[in-house]
Amino acid sequence: MKNIPVSTTINGDPIEFLCGPDETLLEVLRNRLGLTGAKEGCGTGDCGACSVTLNGRLVCSCLVLGAEAEGGEISTVEGLAAGDALHPLQQAFIDHAALQCGVCTPGILVAAKSLLDKNPNPTETEIRYWLAGNLCRCTGYDKIIKAVQIAAEEMRSA
């Protein structure tokens, strides 16, 4: 199997990697680049734990081939914090107990940031529909929705 050279920008840094034609972007991020924030839950695009943005669109990285990322801009949860300063979404999730086991959390943070970039003041319904592709089996969602609302409010007043 011939590996494919791929040039991308990940969290603002130019990154080049080699990957097999059958490797997903999730596998490249985790196994080749050490970016283990994105998680494999289902591997079939149902759970959202592997959410990243590719060229500004929220996607499941398990449903993207690594080779497809050529020339693309990728953002992962590792790019959310500014140095040691957590993103308001990350801080709100901690402060308001919006996570328990944490497996779904990176995907939900990336998805929520993607929503707030597009719509800084979403309604509860808009948040629930936007995050419908991010499954959480611990918290029951209410605390997640609340944390997104609190972070959104904080970001609007910042």
Partner: protein, 298 residues
Amino acid sequence: MSLKITGIGLVNMQYARPETAAEASKLLAEARGATRVLAGGTDVLVQLKAGMVEPDLIVDIKKIDGIRSITQEDGGYRVGAAVSGAELGEHAGVVALWPGVVEGFELIGSTQVQGRATMAGNLCNGSPAADSVPGMVAAQAIARIQGPAGTRDCPVADIPVSPGKISLAKGEIITSIFLPARPNHASDAYLRFIPRTEMDIAVASAAVSLVLDGAGVCTSARVALGAVAPTVVLVRGAADCLVGTKLEDSALAALSDACSAACNPIDDKRGTVEFRTQVAGVLAKRAARIAYDRAGGR
């Protein structure tokens, strides 16, 4: 420590990213063994993971010139085969002209899936429950197809053959879908039934496209049903029930009966034959009312 490299496990699979549709078609035509066209990947990658197909060649069509754009043409819109649901939903022109087509496509999957999924892919996946297909059939959408011998246009209605089977020949790919112009006082709508509010596959669905005259009388109609037959079905008899009416109760009752009569559904855990047959008629009736209101009827 060495990193564990996984991959789906298809060690002999080739990945190609041609820059023209002719080149893509040639690669697919000349390939031996199984092939898959990759646009949004939301069905193809799931099939690969599940081992449903082990392709020797994947042809990624997203670098083909124009395949990710929406362009105006003859008063309608040509939607490139790699345009995602998110991109289509943000296009004010398409949303205004064909709201029923857009709402059908936008019902598919999550935000993440909408970031990648394409109408052409939904069509080529060949599911009778494909949410974007009834709207395209009702809209008389036309697929432009590139094949080894050149391009041809084919009504979307003639693409599905049976569950998972489509009428494209080896080496053929859809490069765009054309949503035609429509007169004033015209609109469309799509409704589906699912047992929850989001992220599910249609148990039954209906798309209705209407043209009215200035007085609100329906002058032409197209009705298409999903998930109630081996393919999405165009129900001409149901459309005939609406022409010449202002969608009075009697016309809508006749529409509903004609739709139910056209159903030939499967019986499974998500819906019985009786349920799907009845619900398809009810959805058609409700979609017709929405399309009528959108078209400015009263």
